[in-house]
Symmetry: C2
Subunit: 219 residues, 2 copies
Amino acid sequence: MEFQDCFPVWEKLTSAQKNEISENLRSRSVKKGDIIHSGNADCSGLFVIKSGQLRAYILSDEGREVTLYRLFERDICLLSASCMIRSIQFDITVEAEKDTEVWVIPAEIYKKIMEESAPAANATNEIMASRFSEVMWLIEQIMWKSMDKRIADFLLEEASIEHTSRIKITHEIIANHLGTHREVVTRMLRYFQNEGMVKLARGTITLTDQEKLKSVCNA
Amino acid sequence: MEFQDCFPVWEKLTSAQKNEISENLRSRSVKKGDIIHSGNADCSGLFVIKSGQLRAYILSDEGREVTLYRLFERDICLLSASCMIRSIQFDITVEAEKDTEVWVIPAEIYKKIMEESAPAANATNEIMASRFSEVMWLIEQIMWKSMDKRIADFLLEEASIEHTSRIKITHEIIANHLGTHREVVTRMLRYFQNEGMVKLARGTITLTDQEKLKSVCNA
């Protein structure tokens, strides 16, 4: 896969802008579990994902986490270059959930192009709107969806991302994704197991009745 | 106050773009309590607030509300023109909290200018980033701040917006702002009253010890 294929605004840039990006584009490999971006001060640049998977989350003072969204192949991570946009007044952390390869456009290069190119600025707008939409979805989940639905939804999403019904994950990690406590997750998973929807084993959860899990989500 | 004073990107537009806006700019007056924008399908345009106060919120299927942010004089309401940005995939409602005067730039006019002008597109980016930041602040509040702190914070903010320590508001309305139930608010306000921080009367809450309320927020 080529960089241009993952960077839709490419065709609308001038030759000078394309050259500027090409000359400054870097590749970076990160291992599963690595923190690739942390907080507002860390303005690494725009990440364009070649392969792998990233997770963006926020951290409380006490170290609690909530997952905001995930990024996959061809997605663009904008908030790792949040210094480019003055009004972004929040800190997120981005971690590699799998071994990941990214292209990095340094923030100062992208910022300059965005200032002179309406197509680049509008493309940036669309990326921010996508992330904003995911966060709005999350607020609705947190405010109005009970934890049984959120956990059922999370399990189905994981199974879909990993293309398997046997998910390798701990209860602690699910709690971190959803911003709750491990005990809450464990209690709910045991209930799901009693209802025949999952089978629990050390470090894995097997979805044994996805239709029934879906009916929990939609109840 | 002139429109140009509230629309910072004005000086960076071409004469043709300025003319296009001037020719299509409308004024609109809304009464306190009026819904000025509702949902994604309603793409009224960009509102620039001349005077008054707007509230943006989300609604659950059951009619529960949470306030996302407020907009004041000189603020620009972008999400009332959300059709301009394809990736905005959520619905908000905007209501006038006071009698309000806005200038409206029709969505199709603004969209056209944004597509050709990098300064306009970047200004739009900054507006979206501001709203995104307010929503991120809200998520942190919801996830990690207990209801006593959120109510104390809300009372102090109301007092500051209204320039008075005697706030005219019902417990029901506070509950709607914070996405909780009236009973929760009433119970907490009674606790605040017992602690000497507020004095409750029918339809009003008087803040009698703002320093102590601040200490609740920062505890």
